[in-house]
Amino acid sequence: MSKGILLYAELTRYSEDGQYVHPVFFELAAKANELSKKLNDAPIYAILLGSKNLVENFKEGFTENNIDTVYVVEDERLQDYSTEYYSKIITDLTKEIDPEIFIIGATTQGRDIAPRISSSLHTGLTADCIELDINEKGQLAATRPTFGGQLMATILCKNQPQMATVRPKVFKPLKEFVKKDTKFITKKANIDDIEKKVNLIEFLKNPEKEESALEDAEIIVAGGRGMKDLMGFEMLKEFASLLNAKVGASRVAVEMGLASHEMQIGQTGKTVTPKIYIACGISGALQHTVGMTGSDKIIAINIDKNAPIFDIADIAIAGDVFEILPELINMIKK
C-alpha cells in the first residue's frame, strides 16, 4: 500500500479574536483526496501545531475532509510561528510518518518552513505548483510556472517524500464534506534542546490588508495601464463599490503608482478566483492571467480587439473604458 500523503495544517496567527486553520489547508485536502484515489486510497495525514485546545477547536476541519490521522503538537512555546521550533518538530514528525508525498501551502509561513524541512530530509521541493497529479509510474508530477510564468515545468522527485507547495486559491476545497473517523495523535514538542535565536518582538497588524482581502472577493474589478491615471482608478473604485466588488490591478498599474502592491494580481501578485473578474484596460499578459484564469466568469474591456485578454474572456468588449464605464456607472446608479 502507498505510504500516504501528508499535509501541513497551518494555523493563522494566534490572537484574542481567535485562530483558524488557514483556508489553503482545505484546498490542499481536496487535492489530496483526488491524489489518494489515484494511489489506491492512500491514507491522508495532517500535522497541526499550536499552543492549546487544538483538537477541540479544529476537529471538524479534519473529520469533514476525509483526513485519516492528525498528529497534534501542543505547547505554549508554539503559540507564535517560529522557524526554528516548527521546522524541527515537523521534520521529526515527517520522519516518523514517512509519507510518500508532503504538501504545504505556499503562504509566507509555508514558504519559510518548507525548504528547511525538505533539505533536512534530503529531498526535493517544488514550489508554487499550479497542478499536482500522479503519473503512470505513481510519482507526484508537480507543475509550476517558471521564467515569470512564461514557461511551465512538470517536475518529478527521485527521493521521498516528494514535497510541493501550492499557493492559496489555486485549488478549490471539497464541494461536499467527506466524513471520516479521524484519529488524533498527540505528540510532545521536542524542542527543549533548541536555543531559539530569532524572537518576535512585536506584531503590527495592517488593518488595510484585511479589508482588501482580494482573495476572498466574489467580484473583482481590475485595472491596468489602460486606466491611464489616478482618475481612471477612481472611476474603477466607484464602479467596484456599486457591485460590492474589490479592486485589483496589473503590475504595470502598480508600477505606475495607481494601485498598491497588495492589489496586484498575477505571477508576482495574488492568485484570485472570484465569481466575476472584470479586466479593464489590461492586455492579458501571461504573468497577469496565471493569477486570475480560475475565475468563474471573465469580462474584459479593451480598446484593442486583438488583446490577448480576449482569448480567455467569457464576455469580451472591444471598446474604450472611458466611454463605456462612465455610462455603465450611470446606468447602474439609476
Binding site: 521564467f147 527521485k158 466568469k297 474572456a313
Partner: protein
C-alpha cells in the same frame, strides 16, 4: 562584522523569445543581476555605512560569465567577489544549490555573522535557496525582510512583511536574511572609483576541488528534483469574439450580462 551576500545572474524574463519548437530561446537573451539581489546588496551597503569595518563578500554560483554581477556588486561598494563555478555544479536544483553555496560559505567566510540573499530569483522564483542554505549551515533565517532596522555586534533587528501585517524580529548572529525588493527605492549607482575597483578586482573562482562537498550532493547528480517536461502554457481559450458595437449598445449589453450574472445582488 562579516557579511556574505548570495547573488544570482538571471535571464531577463521580460525579454523571453520562443523558438519554433516552443522552447525558450536562450541565445541573445540578456542576463541581469536578479532584481531582488540588488536589494540584498543594498541592505549590506547600508550596514557598511554605519559600521565601516563591515566586510562584504558577494558570492554567486554560475557559469564564468556570472563574474559580471560580482563586478557589478563591487562597483557599488561590496569588498570582494567569489565565483563558484564548475561543470559539476551545473543543472543544480535548490537542494544542490544550497549544498554548494553552504559549502562555499564555510570555505570562504566560516566566521560570518550574516548572510543576505534576495527573497526570490525571477527565473526560478522558488524562494527556496536562502532557507536551504541556512538549514544546511544550521543557522536560523528570517525571510520576507523588508527592512533591517538596527544592528549591533551580536544581533540584528528586522521588519518582516507577512500576509496580515509586519513582524519585528531580532536575531542573534549568525543568521541568514532574505530581502524583499523595494519598489520605492532607487538602488545605489556606481561611482567612478567604484567602477575602477570593479574593473581591477580579482575575482576568485572556486571549483569542486576547492570546497568540501561530496560530488553526489552537487549539480545534476545532487538534485532530487528533475524536470520531466517543460511546455509553453496554453491559456484556457473561451473563444468568444469581442463585440465591437457602438459604446451605447456595449453598455446595455454589459449591463444585462452583469444583471444575468447576479452582479447587482452581490453582498
Amino acid at each position: 562584522m562579516k557579511i556574505a551576500i548570495c547573488i544570482k545572474q538571471v535571464p531577463d524574463t521580460t525579454d523571453i523569445k520562443w523558438t519554433e519548437h516552443n522552447t525558450i530561446q536562450r541565445e541573445g537573451v540578456e542576463s541581469i543581476l536578479n532584481p531582488y539581489d540588488v536589494y540584498a546588496i543594498e541592505a549590506a551597503l547600508k550596514i557598511k555605512q554605519k559600521d565601516t569595518n563591515a566586510e562584504l563578500t558577494a558570492l554567486t554560483m554560475g557559469p564564468a560569465q556570472a563574474e559580471e554581477i560580482l563586478r557589478k556588486a563591487i562597483s557599488v561598494g561590496v569588498d570582494r567577489g567569489y565565483l563558484i563555478s564548475d561543470k559539476k555544479f551545473a543543472a543544480a536544483d535548490t537542494y544542490a544549490t544550497g549544498s554548494t553555496l553552504s559549502a562555499a560559505i564555510k570555505k570562504i567566510i566560516p566566521d560570518f555573522d550574516m548572510i543576505i540573499c534576495g527573497q526570490f530569483a525571477i527565473d526560478g522564483d522558488t524562494a527556496q535557496t536562502g532557507p536551504t542554505v541556512a538549514n544546511m549551515l544550521n543557522i536560523p533565517q528570517i525571510t520576507y525582510v523588508k527592512e533591517i532596522e538596527s544592528f549591533d555586534e551580536k544581533t540584528v533587528t528586522v521588519l518582516r512583511e507577512v500576509e496580515d501585517g509586519v513582524e519585528k524580529l531580532t536575531a542573534e548572529f549568525p543568521v541568514l536574511l532574505c530581502l524583499l525588493k523595494k519598489e520605492d527605492e532607487e538602488p545605489t549607482r556606481a561611482k567612478i572609483n567604484g567602477i575602477i575597483n570593479a574593473k581591477n578586482a580579482e575575482i576568485t573562482t572556486l571549483t569542486m576541488d576547492d570546497i568540501e562537498l561530496a560530488p553526489e550532493r552537487a549539480g545534476l547528480k545532487g538534485s532530487p528534483t528533475y524536470v520531466s517536461k517543460a511546455f509553453r502554457p496554453i491559456q484556457k481559450h473561451r473563444n468568444v469574439p469581442p463585440t465591437e458595437a457602438s459604446p451605447e449598445s456595449q453598455v446595455i449589453f454589459l449591463y444585462n450580462k452583469l444583471h444575468e450574472l447576479g452582479a447587482f445582488d452581490n453582498e
